[in-house]
Symmetry: C2
Subunit: 465 residues, 2 copies
């Protein structure tokens, strides 16, 4: 029986409804092969639509091969078109956005103060670009990114981070994450070993492992990674470091160690990958120069706008030794062609027109106050605690004498609505960071910081009762 009720209120056209109905009957073998379909006029009368509607549906079925025509005879179901149509297994709806627990004070790190995103400026820049750029910009771009952005960036990085590079050594990536993923694909995809500072975040490990590498944890002390622990028999594919302000430890790699690392990489004919993610925010002295400036042929420099502007705009970059430019560009092309052109051009104007440095100055003042509040509050409640890495960035490490941040204490803190991050959690070799926690302050207001430290203090003081 071919009759069915069409839905005249549906967004789906009547032709499509007729087509879909017959198609389903055929696939389901309710209409078996070589069955004659009613003429378009009969069908139109039966279901109460115009003959043209049915003709269009038949034409589509014919075009797709579900039916065939015999001259002066009509339309027939084609052979070989029955199939038990698959049904998606009962799909449990998942909520992507969990309701935010506003009560919790979360000292998470690497999250900037997104309420200060320069909406007006960015919105205007990106609209202007849509209005005034050349047509060809709306086509495919180049895999290394827009020349304008690479040029502004080369100038900016030279001035602020002493990075030595030509704009053609830069490749624009979708965040630092993609830069690190592709570097790993390039240098370590065949189960290559990457020497990493230990502790290191799960997320960073995930990037390297997903891209096909194995990890070789190298211990740190208060000067940073310990170069004499690096293997001297077989070189790792590269040594990954965050020299300016390591995450999670907050340590700045000493100049002696930097030099030892460069010498190691030269001797072993390998690379150093320098992740420089938050050094724009330096509160004591000016920012430490990049390691890249010590040897642009050995050090691959990775940076991002996620922390200084917004992670929602996925723009990062990598500065490559000349020999790696072409192979890296090829990988980028096959991974996702290139990063969004309009956002690249907006970023280029954001830098050229001075907005970036203006925004950094503004954010530095904000973070400086938040940091001062955190340091003061910690000193008030924990006069004997030691702070590490408080000179820069958006997080610091607190080392507390005689306090072990084990499970039951962390649970008590959570129950008191305060979330802290034990350094031990990030350690691959366990047992060396039991009394340290990471406190990120980038996305917390001064009031939240005060309340958060009070909650930590309340829980910890109860331990000694």
């Amino acid at each position: 029986m071919l009759w069915f009720e069409v839905n005249r209120k549906s967004q789906v056209s009547l032709t499509k409804q007729v087509y879909q109905h017959i198609r389903e009957l055929i696939l389901d073998e309710q209409l078996i092969e070589h069955t004659r379909l009613p003429s378009s006029r009969e069908m139109a009368d039966q279901i109460g639509v115009s003959r043209n509607t049915v003709l269009a549906a038949y034409e589509q079925l014919l075009y797709e091969g579900y039916i065939y025509m015999k001259e002066k005879s009509g339309s027939y179901v084609a052979p070989g078109v029955a199939l038990q149509v698959g049904i998606t297994t009962d799909f449990r709806q998942t909520k992507s956005h969990q309701p935010k627990i506003e009560k919790m004070i979360d000292f998470r790190a690497a999250h900037p103060a997104i309420d200060h995103f320069p909406r007006k400026v960015w919105g205007k820049l990106i609209k202007d670009i849509c209005y005034d750029i050349d047509n060809e910009i709306f086509g495919y771009g180049t895999s290394n990114g827009e020349e304008k952005l690479r040029a502004s960036l080369a100038n900016y990085l030279g001035r602020t981070r002493s990075v030595k590079c030509h704009r053609d050594q830069i490749v624009i990536t979708s965040g630092a994450t993609q830069a690190l993923y592709l570097i790993t694909r390039l240098l370590a995809s065949q189960k290559g070993r990457i020497a990493v500072e230990d502790p290191v975040t799960d997320e960073m490990r995930g990037i390297f492992v997903q891209a096909g590498a194995n990890l070789l944890p190298i211990s740190m002390d208060n000067e940073g990674i310990i170069p004499r622990e690096l293997p001297t028999d077989t070189a790792p594919s590269f040594v990954f470091v965050i020299p300016s302000h390591q995450f999670p430890t907050g340590i700045t790699l000493s100049i002696q160690r930097r030099i030892q690392l460069v010498e190691y990489a030269r001797k072993m004919n390998t690379f150093i990958v320098e992740d420089d993610y938050d050094s724009e925010f330096t509160y004591e002295g000016t920012a430490v120069s990049s390691m890249q400036s010590l040897d642009p042929n050995t050090v691959i420099y990775v940076g991002t706008f996620s922390k200084i502007l917004s992670p929602a705009i996925r723009i990062g970059y990598v500065v490559l030794p000349p020999a790696l430019i072409e192979p890296f560009q090829a990988l980028k092309w096959y991974a996702d062609r290139h990063t969004s052109t309009m956002e690249q051009l907006a970023m280029a104007r954001f830098i050229e027109e001075g907005y970036l440095e203006q925004h950094i100055r503004k954010m530095k003042r904000i973070y400086q106050k938040r940091r001062a509040t955190l340091v003061d509050e910690l000193a008030k409640y924990f006069p004997s605690c030691k702070l590490i890495g408080e000179a820069a960035g958006m997080h610091l490490v607190v080392e507390m004498h005689n306090i072990i941040f084990e499970k039951s204490l962390l649970k008590k803190l959570q129950e008191a609505d305060v979330q802290v991050y034990p350094v031990e959690h990030y350690a691959m070799k366990k047992g060396h960071h039991l009394n340290q926690i990471v406190l990120g302050y980038g996305s917390l207001t001064e009031d939240q910081i005060k309340e958060g430290v009070l909650r930590i203090a309340t829980v910890i003081n109860q331990l000694h009762l």
Copy 2:
């Protein structure tokens, strides 16, 4: 000698200049370890800057570990900080944008008419989003993409392509390229074999191979890929097809073959990856339904906005069987976290507010005219040629009786300033497509098409003289 001339016109601060000068002398061993530096007052007098400038530079050198202080004695060069600083090998400047040769008429495919990009609408939407969205949007997003876009897309794909999916089965990617790259990483990264239609583009092969897979070419005939050529001993990691309008051949996969493929995949417990890149533009009948609608548990559906809107906005998507959603999302997170949030939200509004379908209708009229011009001109000069795949998309294939498109002919065409694409070039098994060329017409005006066909005809007619 510590004296040097500061540059008061430089963008680099005086403090930074002093710091950099001394740092270089130390690295270069012109100042050897334990050498005493002049007092800040002496130094300031020597080079003619304020004492505060020198103090700030010394503080930075001290902070970075280049120098150390002895109480009541002064500042000294630290040990272990000498290094022959690396210099980038002479960097030959490359031009990213080659000057366009305007004379050449390039029948390249898969390039949309970018001069019709809806600048005003898109610019306004993206500005509005910057102005009016919640603060939290400027933070990290979720790896599967913005819920609003996934919801609009699920509705749109259901209506126009009969794709059966819940919004949570969709992951937003940076173009279809990234979707295919990550599917390969997920299913075939360990030298897995991917069955591909032969011919297939170099770019597509590049994606699969760079992601770690091997290729298994499967022949096509005029109904598309030939399922009985698929291996029955070991299943490939997946079968990759472009069923609606294959590139380069232009063939639409017959419904019988589609069903055979789904049955094969079910039996062999593998997947089909359906790339549906230009089926929005259908000039005869309505678009062929997606293969995904035959079995959403077996078919992975990949789409993109590159062809219908612009490749400069890197937004594609994948519709996944439920079992693959979580592992795919994890891969996306480690590859680049997520696709630009603001552009995703702009795209969601572009769909919701009806602009997308309006734009598609407009572009379809434009391409329809270009296609008609191309078909007419070909009929005029080559009455016996056969056209394949002219019913849809932005390219067609011309098969010419007795003409072999070999090197010398292609060279003559190029010399006549017309670029065509031999199908043979894309073939892995050679020798079956010698008399076929791809002509893309998406980015050519009607006048260019007329002139282009005339040039082809002129060159080919000369062959017979």
